[in-house]
């Protein structure tokens, strides 16, 4: 008997401690394994797995506790109050049920995880400390509160860790055995660490008080081993059952997957089949040839072109007919024998011309090819029929054309015909073609090269290029060229040819003598130039007064200055300084006069100089100097706005001067009747995508939409004395410079004539 109030020494049986830990881990593993099943299952099985899991876990915790209690050795006998022991088991099962409930959810947030960890940890702790009250022994238990608290914290923390793992492990297919093991280790640790920490917090003090041993049992070592063994077996069985169930599920899943795969393969195959069938059907529908399939002399298939060729509305009118019905009596025997041969030899028949009878009884000339095929299991013949009418029509048209051309030639139109065999390179000419080239059958070899040799050197490259295109597979030939005849005369020819590729490739063509046309064109162009010159003269005439003024001004200054200097020199003594100043000014003014004359000469010169890089501002300044007198007389104020970034343009200075002069003179005229506002002329230049945009904006009467349409037409004028050429010429000048000239209404009044000019790229002059 130990002395009362002495702390009892404690010790542990290491083997049983290990056993208790093993039970804790196994119980956790079984529980987690079942949690996975719970998630996967539904209805009754779910409930069963759930209950099983909760019981397994509860028994695991409970069993661990009592195995651990047996590992705990006190120098006094210990008994256990069994109703409490049973209650403890209940606590274990309930808290496990709760934990499983959480772990088997689809989703678990942090809040839920922490709550569950708290409850499960608390459950484990509760099981432990309630389990302690089941002890019946001759000692008093004293607890160190800090350590107790620590044990509870451990229980909660490890439970939480285990639950977080369990959360990831729910998906049976995704969980790995390793992770499941880690989770169960954490859970086992939660139980074990809590237990042993809890035990460490307790101190057993010997007591003499009588111990109430009612309804209590002692647990022998063997009993403990029994508990352990049974528990482990139970748990093992649980895991095994779970494993079996899983295997079964997996097999069912495999089977289902295989069925699905097979189904989709079949569907795809089916789609492929119907797609290729569809493609084939469309091809047959779209063929410009008729296709007829007949089996046993009955027509079984006809494509849309075939329906049309036979004059039917739909396939039903044709399908089922005897093939002989559509063959012209003349050909029936021949075709019959061809069909027989097809069946016997299994070989097709080459193209053959024949005639068929359409539903309305009319005959159609055709060309047909046949091949034996199998149609729905029976031997059949597929016939491809081409309408021969089209080809015949083309041939007829060609003949008609030839006749027409001969007529035209006879009527005096100079159309030469030629036929060039591309294989033999032999050209056959009509009489007119010989005349156009100034050659005869004796002097022309018939080779294309020998014809080309007579073409003007300036046009030869173009013609050779056109021929090259035809030889490279082109369908048409067209070119315009001059022929220099042996006698030196020139003949302009407009040639056009079409390549015929049926049969041996050849080109049929015509050559029209357009010499007279060209001559007319040329004289028109010349008279236009003449006209432009005349207009320039006319404008110059109008401006004579201005020009006289422009020359007289500097001349006056010269005369006056020279007179003044003579006077300065004639004084006694001569005033040399004043005389020199006056003479210097006289020279400057004389140069100015010379510049004016130069400008006028340039304006009147007939041949325009080549395009040069020009500054629009300079051109405008030149013209304003010329038009100054007119502007002043009519009280017109001129403002120039030249943007700084305006590039130089490519142009003919004189023509551009004339352009500006025309526009400025027009503006002056347009403002002639303006009395209620100032007469302003604004000349602006700015950068433009096409180069430079120039605007000439007056404050005159403006241009009505009807006028705007015809204002650039030659001989259109609104002026009493106008000849209507100024704007027409301006238009052609701008066009010759690759620009555009147009007119729009100004705001609030007046007209804006604007035009674009191309900027000069690179250095030109």
């Amino acid at each position: 008997m130990l002395q009362a109030n002495t702390t009892l020494p404690v010790s542990y049986d290491d083997l049983q401690v290990a056993l208790s830990a093993l039970i804790a881990v196994s119980g956790s593993y079984a529980a987690l394994d079942l949690a996975g099943r719970v998630t996967a299952a539904k209805g009754w099985p779910r409930f069963a797995w759930f209950t099983g899991g909760a019981v397994a876990m509860g028994i695991g915790i409970w069993s661990m506790h009592f195995t651990a209690m047996l590992a705990f050795r006190l120098p006094i006998p210990v008994a256990y109050h069994w109703p409490t022991v049973v209650r403890v088991l209940l606590i274990g099962v309930l808290s496990s049920a709760f934990a499983l409930q959480v772990a088997s959810r689809d989703k678990m947030g942090w809040a839920r995880a922490v709550t569950s960890g708290l409850i499960l940890g608390a459950g484990i702790a509760a099981l432990h400390y309630v389990g302690m009250t089941a002890m019946r022994l001759g000692a008093v238990m004293e607890f160190n509160h800090a350590t107790v608290a620590l044990s509870v914290v451990f229980a909660i923390v490890f439970s939480l860790a285990a639950l977080l793992f369990a959360f990831d492990l729910r998906e049976v297919t995704r969980g790995t055995p390793f992770r499941k093991l880690v989770s169960s280790l954490a859970m086992g640790a939660a139980i074990s660490v809590m237990h042993y920490t809890g035990m460490a917090s307790a101190r057993f003090v010997a007591s003499n008080k009588p111990v109430d041993f009612t309804r209590s049992v002692s647990i022998s070592d063997l009993g403990a081993l029994g508990i352990g063994a049974v528990t482990l077996m139970l748990l093992g069985l649980t895991v095994f059952l779970s494993f079996l169930s899983r295997q079964q599920d997996a097999r069912a899943q495999d089977l289902e997957r295989a069925v699905l795969q097979r189904t989709s393969q079949l569907t795809a195959l089916n789609e492929d089949l119907s797609a290729s069938e569809e493609r084939f059907r469309r091809l047959v529908d779209a063929l410009p040839d008729a296709i007829i399939v007949h089996s046993n002399d009955r027509i079984v298939f006809v494509n849309p072109f075939g329906i049309r060729l036979l004059g039917a509305q739909n396939a039903q009118q044709i399908i089922g007919k005897n093939i002989s019905e559509i063959i012209h009596p003349d050909y029936r025997a021949t075709i019959k024998s061809r069909i027989l041969r097809n069946y016997e030899t299994g070989a097709g028949s080459p193209a053959m011309e024949s005639t068929i009878i359409s539903l309305d009884g009319s005959t159609v000339d055709i060309e047909a090819t046949a091949i034996p095929i199998t149609w729905e299991g029976s031997p059949a013949i597929e016939v491809v029929i081409r309408d021969a009418r089209e080809r015949k029509k083309v041939e007829q048209t060609a003949q008609e054309w030839q006749r027409r051309m001969e007529l035209a030639e006879r009527a005096g139109l100079s159309i030469g015909l030629w036929d060039w065999d591309l294989n033999t390179n032999k050209v056959v000419w009509s009489e007119e073609a010989y005349r156009q080239f100034g050659l005869t059958k004796e002097t022309f070899s018939g080779r294309v090269e020998d014809a080309v040799a007579w073409i003007h050197p300036g046009d030869r490259a173009t013609v050779e290029e056109a021929i090259r295109r035809v030889l490279a597979g082109g369908r048409e030939y067209s070119s315009q060229y001059r022929v220099v005849r042996p006698d030196g005369t020139i003949c302009w020819i407009d040639a056009y040819g079409v390549v015929a590729r049926e049969g041996p490739p050849r080109m049929l063509g015509i050559g029209i003598d357009i010499t007279n046309l060209k001559k007319t064109e040329q004289s028109l162009k010349e008279s236009k130039i003449e006209m432009a010159h005349m207009v320039r003269i006319a404008i110059a005439g109008e401006l004579t007064a201005s020009i006289a003024h422009e020359i007289n001004q500097p001349l006056t200054a010269v005369v006056t200055d020279v007179s003044a200097s003579l006077r300065w020199l004639g004084q006694h003594p001569p005033n040399l300084e004043e005389a020199r100043t006056a003479l210097t000014m006289a020279i400057r003014e004389a140069n100015r006069a010379s510049d004016v004359i130069g400008r006028i000469r340039a304006l009147l010169r007939k041949t325009p100089p080549p395009m040069r890089q020009l500054d629009i501002g300079e051109v405008v300044d030149d013209v304003l100097a010329l038009a100054r007198e007119e502007l002043v007389t009519h009280g017109v104020t001129v403002t120039c706005e030249f943007a700084a970034d305006v590039p130089r343009v490519l142009g003919d200075r004189i023509q551009l001067q004339q352009l500006f002069l025309n526009l400025i003179m027009n503006a002056i005229d347009a403002m002639g009747s303006v009395i209620d506002r100032s007469r302003r002329l604004l000349i602006k230049s700015s950068r433009h995508p096409e180069g430079v945009l120039v605007q000439v904006h007056d404050s005159g009467e403006g241009v009505s939409p009807e006028q705007a349409d015809q204002i650039f037409e030659p001989f259109f004028t609104t002026k009493a004395q106008g000849i209507g050429m100024g704007l027409a010429i301006s238009h052609s000048i701008v066009e010759a410079h690759g620009g555009r000239l147009w007119v729009s209404s100004g705001s609030p009044h007046g007209a804006i004539f604007q035009f674009t000019l191309q900027k000069s790229e690179g250095r030109y002059d």
Binding site: H549, T556, A557, V558, W568, N575, A582, M585, R588, V632
Partner: protein
Amino acid sequence: MTEMLPLVCIVDDDTSVRDALRRLIRSVGLRAEVFGSAQEFLQWSRPDVPTCLILDVRMPGISGLDLQRQLSDADIQLPIIFVTAHGDIPMSVRAMKMGAVEFLTKPFRDQELLDAIQFAVERDRVRHLRQAEVTSLRERFESLTPREREVVEMVASGMLNKQIAARIGITLNTVKVHRSRAMEKMQAQSLADLIKIVEKLQTPARKVS
């Protein structure tokens, strides 16, 4: 006496022409003032000396002919010499009718212009002198009492002393006193002198030529 040196005003929008003209005029020892436009000239305050005006016909804004009319309307009597690079007969006729001294077409001989200037300046000098005389006579006339003026006017119109006395109802002696006092104030030596003075005063706006 610089102030009395005749002045030549040149109005021409062509800088080189008007500068050349200025140089020519200076070479003959005359004063020249140049103006780029009629407005410029009108804004300038003219000194009270014999002056002539050389005017370009065509100018932006107010033309030479317009300026001539404006001056005439304002009763400014300046002799004008027109110069133009582009003259026609109707234009010159119009200018001469309006009292221009000369109408020269550019380019002109220097002597032609200088002669015209000489003539114009001389004419303005006379006008100037006449105007100065009239001004002084008017000042004298202004110094007369109303009664004296009445008497002088009647004397100038050829009335006898007696008639005057009867007309205004004063004694013959009183008329004589008024008359002699007026003669004294008007600096008239004789009756003929007085009559001439009154005539000059009665036609002050009449043109010189």
